[in-house]
Symmetry: D3
């Protein structure tokens, strides 16, 4: 179509991909799914607006593929022009009824999987990884990029906040392993960290992350492993994510995160991923955090799709 379609023009689907309103009609390799849920947030809410903002900022990229002038790599051209990526809209949220919402999340992801597509899930807060992950029925490894462990104990009647997701995930039979990368917040208790490790998971603080480097992270798993990746935007350094409530200093640079994701994509089989915790109503007016989020998703998806 002979349109310029500047980013502020048009009803925003992710990268202007076709909207698939009914998952039973899905015919694509990749399905973009929004989960506008933030009831699990421990401080300021607002990440429920994340999927809309990520879609909106994704329109700043070409709907015909992207190109990295540094590396000369091209991404997503075939997938986008070939209609292999679809935007399946948002999971239906049931406020104050978290279990019902979580069932909807699981059902949506399952429907995507049943149609043979890879789910790319846009949050929302980090509580959603649990209901996403339980939709997978094959054993996979889980790699979590995050400043916080999100492995809270089930007490005080709390099980489903964004501080609990990975206790659920790690306990599932389908989780072959859990590797937490970028952990650095002083708001995780020692007990929690000890328990994660005692439960057989890896906690990789920033120092160890920097020693290992991107390929070192990828090499923690046997080559060709099936991997689910969960990316909390606060893995990135606080200076890059003014619109993330849980931002922490001494985090990853963008190249550190990007290259780690690339190394994982190149060495393993990615079966799905989520990206969470951008809070658009509290972001800077320019929306830089949402833009950076869209970039992370697009570039990681590009590396995944570029694998042979």
């Amino acid at each position: 179509m002979d349109r310029v379609d500047r980013p502020y023009v048009g009803i925003p689907s992710f990268l202007r991909t076709p909207i698939c309103a009914d998952l039973s009609d899905l015919d694509a390799d990749v399905a973009i799914l929004g989960v506008p849920f933030d009831e699990g947030s421990p401080f300021l809410p607002g990440s429920r607006m994340g999927p809309r903002a990520l879609r909106e900022h994704s329109l700043r990229f070409s709907p015909r593929g992207v190109y990295d002038p540094e590396t000369g790599n091209e991404y997503l051209a075939a997938e986008l022009t070939g209609g292999l990526i679809a935007d399946v809209g948002d999971v239906d949220i049931r406020p104050t009824n978290t279990e019902a919402t979580f069932e909807n999340i699981t059902a949506s992801v399952r429907a995507i999987l049943e149609r043979g597509a890879m789910p790319v899930v846009l949050g929302g807060d980090h509580s959603i990884t649990y209901p996403i992950f339980r939709a997978f029925d094959r054993p996979v490894h889980v790699i979590q990029f995050d400043a916080h462990c999100d492995y809270g104990s089930f007490e005080h009647g709390l099980r489903y906040t964004n501080g609990h997701a990975f206790r659920h995930v790690a306990a599932m039979e389908t989780a072959l392993s859990l590797t937490q990368v970028g952990i650095r917040s002083l708001r995780n208790s020692k007990d929690q960290i000890d328990e994660i490790r005692a439960d057989g998971n890896r906690v990789i603080p920033m120092g160890q992350f920097r020693s290992l480097g991107p390929s070192g992270i990828a090499e923690l798993l046997p080559p060709g492993s099936p991997v689910y990746v969960s990316i909390d935007v606060d893995a990135l350094d606080m200076s890059l994510v003014p619109g993330c409530v849980s931002a922490e200093p001494d985090g990853m640079s963008y190249p550190e995160l990007r290259d780690s994701l690339r190394a994982i994509a190149e060495r393993h089989e990615i079966i799905g991923f989520d990206f969470v915790e951008v809070n658009p109503p509290l972001d800077v007016g320019t929306g830089v955090t949402a833009y950076l989020g869209a970039l992370v998703v697009i570039e990681f998806l590009g590396h995944i799709c570029n694998q042979p």
Copy 2:
């Protein structure tokens, strides 16, 4: 103490009243209770910060009582200097576990009532009126100032949002009547309005409100009735509440709301009230909506306390 205590100075309790950390120690006639809960909000969250903002703006009023230059009335001087009002802090919130949060709300209000104090509850979103109200065990009338009915049907697994509270309230045996004043939003369905009336409640749109006038509203109930009052800040006109997500045009002026509350206070026995739906993170930088909220609470409380 010889302090100036400008509003930006000091740890904010409501009107600088003494903080009572343990409800079993409460010794006051009035207890200010915060309920920082916004998981029931249908669009943008943030009213969880309401109790803090209302406390902060309350410090702009004198902790030794207020005075109306128009009427010459004085309020709260004896209560404040005599220590008859206490700030009991906030109900403990259990995110994603609404039922547990609601139990905490009910328990806190009950504890206040058991100590013989009148609860003044600061929200939070309007879903909290249900767990507040069920703490009362005597039959009372309920008057709700609101642009919306909040009488949603229980479907899709939803029962506890801020759109459902008054279906619960009206159905309780302790609710002698429910009168909804200021209803005007086009977002209430006809079915809902019809059902409210069919269930024996009063719905008073703005036109009828203006015809009745403040005293007419008060006279809807037999003199001396015990009354619980629930005030959604969106009863006020949209122009006055930029920091309320659910603001609607053609609402009450401040004098209309104030005089209605005064008339009710003068004619009836107020057993408690709540004030809800100020959203501080999304308010104007000056915080005018939170200030107006503090004013509503203070002036209504003043009228209640001024009754013989």
Copy 3:
């Protein structure tokens, strides 16, 4: 579909109406068209984000029709459930090439008219009324609700800003008359006002508007006249539109505007309308101005569709 679809869920089309990506496929009675253009703004830009914000806030209304508890009227139920309203997306904008953008606007409106639908156009700034109006090829009356005349002379190389639109409109043969309602800004020059009147148009300041009343405004034209209506949100009082850069005091209350629109709808034949000048990036965080804008559009459309 058994979805709750809270307003923050889903890819936003206006009132969740079906998206029609290709105007040649349009099959509806009403077409919602966005024009995200703000290059004609004389001070702070940003109204280009208006269509997105109006769509987003429209989701706060029921996609199955709305109901006014004051009047008991219902609106848009048949139209929405019957699929008679479509969202045709946004006109393609060509930044720095205003003439090309204007051609696109005219072509889009013309395509809507050719499909037999009534265009409802969401701005954007007020410069867009000229290219919208020139798409109509039958003679009609024009009623403009506005604080400003937008009848600037063509000098200094300027012809297409939001201060010039109605000089173009009034000069077209298809404009049977131009009636400007709500004019009050001190930023219009005497020369401009004099010229408007000398050119045979009506300028109705607020005092005269209040004397005439809603029906008086409608009665300025012969009954059953074909009418195009252009609504600048700044017709409303400054207190209601914090997110409008050109807000002016002493403007219309919401009922004054609503009832005028209703009277016009009831007495005349509306052939299309536009709604302009909401500036979402500069609005209050709650988005009250965008919400009010969606309400104006929905309620006016409801009155139009309710005519026999």
Copy 4:
């Protein structure tokens, strides 16, 4: 000059009047003077940015005079095109040394008076009226439009905040009378109000203001009286001034304030005025409060200059 000079273009002097950097060179009938001082503010500071914002928004009006389409009156054309109004910049502020700042304010106003010009002073907070007023050496009446009395007692070492200005003013021999119009805040103590009246001043709450009407206010003084006018933007209703920290509900509409100022200008001799308490950093992004402030200043100045 053949320039369009849109409001966002150019270095902003008030109404694009000539900048007079050295008061000893002043040759004008009216001098616009900024006083960017907010150290006297009791809650949130920021009104120090008032003069800049008022200048910036003044550029939205024509530098060749303004016109009221309602009344047909023209204002300031001769004064602006004839160079009779000059912008003399800002008083030099000495932070933390209020007495030195106040001396500078007084000296600047005195210099304006010595050059035979009428000072129009843009605040800043309301504490500045005291040092402004003491620059006048002839006896005049003072009329203050304000929601608050600003007549605080000198205690706790406080004498110079925006809550003290009018105790100073009223006590000066040059103050023939003090009339406070619009008083309504519940944050003034009864003692303060009583003391103001006992000291021989007038306090006119909103009810009395509405009874008197604009001409009634003007008629409180003998015709032809010399009058200094001090305008706190919070005299206007809270709904109009989101960018004023001290906004109060139930205030004046814009026509009420405008017509009162006009009546005073028509009946008396205005020797100077100030306009204070707009807080630009905390205003809505559109700057509506600063715009309204510029409008008040321009329209009042227009009425003053239109007197024979």
Copy 5:
């Protein structure tokens, strides 16, 4: 107590420590004192809201101690659970009377010292270090982390702004030495820098800071020296402190500041410290700068308390 106490719940004292309203009752090893003073700020005010924001964000940390997953260190557990830290509220501020405010600051710090506690002071702007420091009566070294020297000459009647504090401090007999670390702004004059050095103080620009490293900084003083530390948040890089008006590029990373503070704590005897210049009303909506400030204070306090 069996509470979850999410960060948005409850009246905020620093780290939920007990509030001590009367300093004569203080019984703790560490006293947190707020000084909400910003009248000394040279550009945009607002840091007066710093103490409230720092307290609020401190609630995001566990009130039972914190843990660093990188180092395995635990902090403050004994102090917090043992009640050894108290929040003594804010110094009473006297706006426009800086000397009176400064006397109050000095008196409050002195009272803390008299009760045997170490003061941890939360600003406010940097002018407060002078009145804080003069409360100490024993000779100590002073280390200042800052982008600016704050050593302005006393001229134009200015002595007490945030640009003057360290001229006062360095001149006091109790100041054994003054070491300024992180100096880099181009807004310090050469004369000022030369004078600081001529007066026997150390100025350490960023290059030298990086050469020395954290331990090098600590080793500038004899081991075991008594040290007062003053931390301006603008010592950190501009990218980390969007809510600091005086932010400068090329500043410290968080690890650089943290490790320097740790090295000083480990090698010397800290007798008190202050943390200043966070401006919450102008910060990003997420409050990242206030959070980072709370982290600096908590982690430094943790290192101090962990010393044998």
Copy 6:
């Protein structure tokens, strides 16, 4: 003059230099020219307010010259105290008529050049470099610091947006070469990059920029070359420019940009430069991006003026 002139005081010209309202009177070595144009912006507009914000933040620097405590260098003292720098205000903008605006830009720059002064141009968006550059009539090299190529093809009727400027520039005979430094966005197409290089220009991504280093960049041109420099603030890393809509991660640190500019100034003859793309209405409340922009301009200008 014995004024303190804090940054918030006074009508802002750049660095408080004399305002030259008529270019035919210009008598200075350097002319600061604002171009408040943002109609070429592809996403969110607002950079039209850039010149005002840069002027305002420039007032935070001394109007008597600046000093770098790291290097001991002084800048601009002679130029500022000697009146060698003038602020010539803003180019007159013709909204919706880009060609007329561009003619004005070219005419203003030409007038500056004719008076023998070096133009320093403050944007606005990056589209302005084309009309600036065409005002020069001698052959020079062009160095562009930018994350994006801005070398869009002329299609869809677009030629003048901020994505097209350097296609125009590179094609002019006066452009001896074009060197683009810092290119890294994934939003540039491969075709565009290939075409730039095929046209004989240099594209230097961040990796190559870091390899070359500041002096390596300068050494790309023969020593003593005449050079025009165009600086897009998004050359800096995203973490430093929250108020830039087009911010990208993995950009330059401040020292990297500063030292590159310095090396170019020291090795070549700078004939003019522009600085663009700060968006003040969408920046953080503290205005850090505008401050950083002012710093870039001042420090680069200082290095230019310090050359023998």
